[in-house]
């Protein structure tokens, strides 16, 4: 399935990418998490969060064709 993956803040700087279109062969958020972690080993240590279609997502959640996934470190607004 095709996913749109967006990186924010420090993760965008580390990955050197803002948005990418990914052809994803897995099924769940956890599968995507593993792919992203293996490309960016630092992310998990920094507390990677994943949102799907603008909602925080559990690892057990299914992904679907056309989903927008956001990958980012813990938030620090205020």
């Amino acid at each position: 399935m095709k996913l749109r993956v967006r990186y924010f803040a420090m993760f965008r700087d580390i990955a050197g990418v803002d948005t990418l279109e990914m052809d994803f062969t897995g099924r769940k958020v956890l599968d995507l998490r593993k792919i992203i972690s293996s490309a960016n080993p630092e992310f998990e240590r920094r507390g990677m969060l994943i949102a799907v279609n603008e909602r925080y997502a559990e690892d057990s959640m299914d992904l679907h064709e056309g989903d927008t996934v956001a990958v980012f470190p813990p938030v620090s607004g205020g």
Binding site: R6, F8, A9, M10, R12, D13, A51, E54, R55, Y56, A70, F72, P73, V75, S76, G77, G78
Partner: protein
């Protein structure tokens, strides 16, 4: 309820004037102001990054949550993003309630919710050069 994430400087007077408080009681406001120093180093300012669509959604949800939980009469909040210089306001929140404990607790809890959940990130920009994400 009026919630906004925006690049422009925050006009706190105008935001406060838009808060419904006509039945009286208590109004509590919070302003988060960019510090001049961070860890002993002089700051040029903070750069706020934001996942705008999600931030707006979670900002709205945090507002609805605290208005309901603390029986607030109204809530107005603005989070500024982009570059914010020391002394400038990055987050302004104003709440009205019939009683002061609801107003204090509602305002304080809204700020907690924002800091915990809304996808906004800040980076220190140091006067002497150099940057550091929080």
């Amino acid at each position: 309820m009026n919630l906004k994430v925006a690049e422009e400087p925050i006009d706190t007077g105008r935001a406060l004037a838009s808060l419904k408080a006509d039945t009286g009681g208590a109004v509590v406001t919070f302003s988060g102001i960019v510090r001049a120093h961070e860890g002993g180093r002089i700051l040029k300012g903070l750069q706020y990054d934001c996942y705008m669509d999600m931030a707006k959604k979670l900002f709205q949800e945090a507002g609805e949550y605290v208005v309901h939980r603390f029986s607030l009469l109204d809530l107005v909040a603005i989070h500024r993003i982009g570059f914010v210089a020391p002394g400038e306001t990055s987050l302004f929140v104003a709440v009205s309630a019939l009683h002061r404990s609801e107003a204090f607790n509602g305002c304080s809890e809204f700020v907690e919710q924002i800091k915990k959940k809304v996808p906004i990130w800040k980076k220190d920009i140091f006067a002497e050069g150099g940057e550091s994400w929080h």
